[in-house]
Structure formats: C-alpha cells, structure tokens
C-alpha cells in the first residue's frame, strides 16, 4: 500500500486523527487505535518505528495521567496522600483517554512517512495549495536538522570554553542557553537570505504556476481506500453517538 497516492494517505490520517479527537468512549478509542496500527502496517509503515516515536512521549503520558487525576473532580480515589487525591478512577480514565488520543494521532501520522517529502509536497500542490507554501514546508523539513547541528556546535563551543553545562545550577544553565539565540538568529537570517537569492536566480516565482517533473495520478485503489475511510468514519461516529 506504500504506492498509494500521498493525498489518499492524507485522507487516511485525517480520518483516524479526526476520530481520535471526536470520540470520548474508551473502547471505541481502543478500536480506532487498532485501526490506526493496521492502517500504518498496511501502508508500509513500521510498528517498531512507531513505538520508538511513542517512547519519546512516555514521560508526558505519565504527567498527563497525574494532571488529569488531580484536576478531575469526582470518581473514586485510588491513591490519596493526606486526604488529597493523587489518582482517582475517573482521572485515570480521562488520562487514558488523552493518552490514547495522542497514540492514535502520532501513530496515524506515521502513514505519511511512507511517502517521500517530494511526493507529499506534490500532493499538496495538486490539492491546490500554493506552491510557495508547499516549499516552505520542504525548506523547514530540510533545514531543521542543519539548525539542530548548528545549535549543538554552538553549545560545544560554549563547553570548550570551560563551562560544564551538566554541573552548573539550572538558572545559570538557562542563561547559558540564551547565548545560543544571537548566533542562531544571525545564522538563520543569513541562510534564509542566501537561499532566497539562490531560489530567485533559479526562476522561482517566475510565473504564477509551475510545471512538475512528476505528476501524481490517483488510481482506482486510491478512490476505494478513500471511500473505505469515509465509511469507517461514519460507522464509528454512529456507534459513538449510540453508545452515548
């Protein structure tokens, strides 16, 4: 399914993530999560990669459960400290709801990784999104790793001057991080200027439209998958309304 049109994949992502936002029932959310994992696998995505992405958010998930428990009124307390409820059954339920939503949205986004950035941009352009905006997305994706490397270089340069960031107090550490700002902003502005000149001198925006070497064409399978997405969306929404 990795050969599906990126626009079809976008519809798949939108369907699954919209369901995650609209549904409140925990069992239905679990069902949507199963659909999301199945869709990612069918689209050629890797479950292992998906889990690796989710692992990064583990701490946030734990915090969400606690925050939801503390601020959700009602429910039976499961863990109390001096009459103060740390975890309640309702809070835990809400926390799980939130976590599942995150899970679904993050895992459904993995579907898009089965297309190349160029295919995604071309898909956006063919969806009538102005190509200038589509290029903004490309350039952001392309330059983020470079900016991260640059930030690391500046941090290394700071540490080479004898400042051990791990050993200094938090406030001082934050102040040290502020020294990153100036060289980073200057570098970003210079890069942006050079890049815009290079693009203009390669006839960027010469005409209101531009042609493309590769043009995406929707196949019968794409239309079928889109129809299935709409059908699944409607069925789950009807189920959600009935359970309410």
């Amino acid at each position: 399914m990795s050969y599906l049109d990126p626009r079809t994949k976008l519809v798949m992502v939108l369907t699954v993530s919209s369901l995650a936002v609209l549904i409140t029932n925990l069992y239905l959310l679990i069902l949507v999560q199963i659909i999301a994992v199945a869709t990612v696998t069918a689209a050629g995505g890797s479950i292992l990669d998906m889990l690796k992405k989710l692992k990064k958010f583990l701490l946030i998930f734990v915090v969400i459960v606690f925050v939801q428990s503390i601020f959700t009124k009602g429910g039976q307390p499961l863990w109390q400290v001096m009459n103060f409820t740390i975890i309640s059954d309702l809070g835990l339920f809400r926390g799980l709801q939130m976590i599942l939503r995150f899970f679904i949205i993050i895992s459904s986004a993995s579907i898009m990784t089965t297309s190349t950035p160029r295919e995604i941009i071309q898909g956006l352009v063919q969806c009538k999104i102005p190509y200038e905006m589509a290029f903004m997305v490309t350039i952001a994706i392309r330059f983020l790793p470079i900016l991260r490397d640059e930030a690391n270089d500046i941090l290394t340069a700071i540490q080479l001057r004898g400042i051990n960031l791990r050993q200094i107090p938090l406030l001082k550490r934050l102040k040290t991080y502020s020294y990153l700002l100036m060289p980073m902003i200057t570098s970003v502005l210079l890069k942006a200027q050079e890049l815009s000149i290079a693009m203009e001198l390669r006839a960027f925006r010469a005409y209101p439209q531009r042609t493309s070497l590769r043009v995406l064409k929707m196949q019968r399978l794409d239309y079928l998958v889109m129809a299935v997405c709409i059908l699944v969306f409607l069925i789950i929404m009807v189920l959600a309304l009935k359970i309410k």
Binding site: T138, I139, R142, E194, L195, A203, F204, R205, A206
Partner: protein, 228 residues
C-alpha cells in the same frame, strides 16, 4: 553581442557612508573566463550581485551606471529573466541546495520556467551528464561530499541553460579534489562557448582564467601578482 558589459558602475549600501564600487568598467567576451581577486570586504561579492541583478532587484542601496547582459540593462530585466541568461554558484552549497534528491534539485529551475515534463527530464539528464554526476541522480545532496554538492549546485544552474556563469568563491569550502572537479568543469563550459566570471581568493585556482583582474578601491585593474 557582448555577454557582460559594465559601464561606470558605482554602488553604495544604504547603511554605508562610502561607495564600495566606484565608476567600475568591465567587459567580458563570449567564451572568456575572467577571474576577479581582491582582499576580503573589498566588494567582490557586491560586484557579483550587481552582475547578476541581485542588486538592485533584491538588495537596496544606491546603484549608478549600467550593467548589460547580452545588451540588456539588468534594471529592465526581472530576476527570472536573468536566470535564463546568467547562473550563479555561491560559496556555500548548503545554502543553495534544499531538495531531498539531486533530481528534484536540478528539476527546480526548469519547473519554475513551466517547461513540459519531457523537456525537464532532458535538461536534468543533460546537466547531470555535464557535471559527471548522473549516477547520483536519486541520491540525497546532503549525503554527498562538498565538491559533489557544489557540482550539483552547478548542475541545477546549468539546467536553466544560461550563457553566463558566475562562481562566487565557489571553491572556498571544498577540498583539493572538489576544486579540481570544478576547475575542469569551468574549462569544459568555456569550450562550449559559455562566459565565466570567477570571484577568487585562492591564487592556485586562477590558472584556468584568461584574464585576472584585481578589485581595489572600487575599481578593477589588471592583476600584477599582488593584492595590496
């Protein structure tokens, strides 16, 4: 027609009290390689910007005199119009390459010119063949060496088929092998009848030039072996 003709060119940046270029004259003939040397901050890149129309179209400031490309004043041309006449390769390939594959990078210019896909395909094949990078067509430019990236930057300019090429210290960030690739390429392009202006600070790269000029006090003069 004369590819590059500069008449009485003066330029002053908006926030600068002095003129960085002062009544500068330059004529470059078809198929000629002209090298321009000079100390840092003397105005070499500014001259490049004037020749390529970046000044006055992008950078502000006071520009006097005329720059003609094939007989047409750069003031009367738009940047996309200039792009089909003149191509420029900058110092840092990282700030010129933004696509995820070499093919997309080289296709960018012809796509902007609204050429049909068959013609774009032809131009990509042709440009990559010229710079000897055909085998890297589907590679990610970020995974290539500095010299190879600069060749891709050149291929992406060549796909617009400009008659004039400017190399603005294009070899300053690449190793010896990369420099050799670029210099050989310049000679090939010269043999095709293209006009080349190279801005240089490394004298070792000047051997390919037909003429070497030094930029000093806003003027150009024949280079006599010393910068100061």
């Amino acid at each position: 027609m004369i590819p590059i003709e500069v008449k009485n060119l003066s330029f002053q940046y908006a926030k600068d009290a002095r003129k960085i270029l002062h009544n500068l004259e330059l004529t470059v003939a078809t198929g000629e390689i002209v090298a321009i040397v000079g100390l840092s901050g003397i105005g070499k890149s500014t001259l490049c910007y004037c020749l390529s129309g970046i000044i006055p179209h992008v950078y502000g400031g006071v520009m006097e005199g005329q720059v003609y490309l094939n007989g047409r004043d750069t003031r009367d041309l738009t940047l996309p119009q200039i792009a089909t006449t003149l191509g420029i390769v900058f110092q840092n390939p990282d700030n010129q390459l933004f696509s995820f594959t070499v093919e997309d990078e080289v296709a960018f210019g012809p796509e902007n010119l609204c050429l049909p896909p068959e013609e774009i395909e032809h131009r990509i094949t042709d440009a990559l063949k010229k710079v000897g990078m055909s085998e890297f067509r589907h590679a990610n430019p970020q995974q290539l060496s500095g010299g190879q990236r600069q060749l891709i930057a050149l291929a992406s300019v060549l796909s617009l088929q400009p008659e004039i090429l400017i190399f603005d210290e294009a070899m300053s960030q690449i190793d010896r092998d990369g420099r050799k690739l670029i210099l050989d390429m310049m000679l090939k392009l010269k043999a095709e009848g293209r006009t080349i202006v190279m801005i240089e600070h490394d004298f070792a790269n000047l051997a390919v030039a037909d003429r070497v000029l030094v930029l000093k006090d806003g003027h150009l003069a024949p280079f006599a072996g010393k910068l100061s």
